[in-house]
Symmetry: C2
Subunit: 189 residues, 2 copies
C-alpha cells in the first residue's frame, strides 16, 4: 500500500501540483480511507520528502557503482553518469519533474536532508572530473566545479525535453552529449 | 503601479509559490486595494502570463540582436547567448526561477503562447549551430538539435546554482562553459 500511495501521489502531484493535491484526492484515487494514508505517512509533506529522498538516493547508489568500477576510464564513467540521468528521466519522468519543481514545499529540515544528497551527487561528479584532470584524461585549465555543473546541467535539463518517442534513444542522446562535453562542438583540429 | 504590482508579485511568488500567494497578499504588500490590482490585470493567472512573456520576449530580442551581428563568429555568438542566459539569472534570478517553476499554473492558451516563444529561442539557437556546421566553424557529425539542447541545458541550469557572490563572475562562468562546449573537456590533441 505504501508503494501505491507513493505512485498515486506522484501522478496527482505532477498533474495538479503539490499544493493543489489534498490527502483526500490521494485516498480517493486509491479507494482507501485517510486512516490508511496516516498509517504510512505523518503528512503530505512527509510523503513528498519520501519521494525526493528515494529519487536522489537511487541516483547516488548508481553513481557510486559507476565511479567505483575500476575497469572504466573517466570518459566512460562520465558517459555512464550522463546516460543514467537521461535514462532516469525516461524511466521516471514524473519523479524527476516533481523532484525539480516541488522542492520548495519541503520543510527546512527535510530540505536540508535532500540538498545534502544533491550536493553529494554534484561533488562526486566534480571529484571524478578532478581525477580525470590528474590522470591526464581531461584538460587541466578548467574549473572542476564549472565543468561538473556544465555536465549536470546538460544532462538534467533533459527532463524538460527528452521524450522516449522523440527519434533518438536515451543512449544516443547521452553519446552525443558526452561527445560535445569531452571532444567539443568545434571542428576536429 | 503596473510595474510595482509585477515586482511585488515576483517577490511573493518566489517566496511562497504562485498557488500560495493570493491577490490580497499582493495588494497588502503594496498598501493598495484589490480594485487597483484589477485595473491592471484580469486575474492572478494573467499576471503570471505577463511575467512569463516579458521574460522570454526580452531574451528573444537579445538573442536576435546577437545572431544578426554580422561581425561576430558563431563561437562568439554562442558565447554571447550563454553569457546572456547566465547574466540574466544573476540580474533577474527571481523571474528566472518563476519562469521555470510556475509554468504549470498558466492556462492552456497562455501556456501555448509561452511555449511557442521558448521553442523559438531553442530553434534559433539550433539554426545558429547549423550555420556553424555549414561554415565549418563547428563539426558536422552531431545532431544540431541535441547540440542546441546541450548548450541550453548547461546555461539554463545555472538558475539552480549561479550566485553573483560565488567566486566566478557570470562572464567567467560563460567563458569556461563555452570552452567546454566548443573545445571539450578532453586533453588538447
Amino acid at each position: 500500500m505504501r508503494e501505491k500511495i507513493i505512485a498515486a501521489s506522484i501522478e496527482l502531484f505532477e498533474q495538479n501540483g503539490f499544493s493543489e493535491t489534498s490527502i483526500q484526492d490521494i485516498v480517493d484515487a486509491l479507494g482507501v480511507t485517510k486512516g490508511t494514508f496516516y498509517y504510512y505517512f505523518k503528512s503530505k509533506e512527509e510523503l513528498l520528502m519520501d519521494i525526493h529522498l528515494r529519487y536522489i538516493e537511487g541516483l547516488l547508489r548508481e553513481q557510486q557503482r559507476i565511479i567505483n568500477d575500476g575497469r572504466r576510464s573517466v570518459r566512460e564513467k562520465l558517459y555512464a553518469i550522463v546516460y543514467m540521468l537521461i535514462h532516469n528521466v525516461e524511466r521516471q519522468g514524473r519523479q524527476a519533474r516533481i523532484f525539480f519543481r516541488e522542492m520548495k514545499h519541503l520543510n527546512e529540515e527535510h530540505l536540508q536532508k535532500v540538498k545534502e544528497k544533491r550536493d553529494l551527487f554534484r561533488y562526486q561528479l566534480q571529484a571524478l572530473i578532478e581525477d580525470g584532470m590528474k590522470s591526464g584524461e581531461l584538460r587541466r585549465d578548467l574549473s572542476p566545479s564549472i565543468a561538473a555543473l556544465t555536465v549536470l546541467g546538460a544532462a538534467n535539463w533533459s527532463y524538460h525535453w527528452f521524450r522516449p518517442d522523440g527519434g533518438l534513444t536515451d543512449a544516443e542522446v547521452a553519446k552525443q552529449m558526452i561527445t560535445i562535453l569531452i571532444d567539443g562542438m568545434g571542428p576536429a583540429s
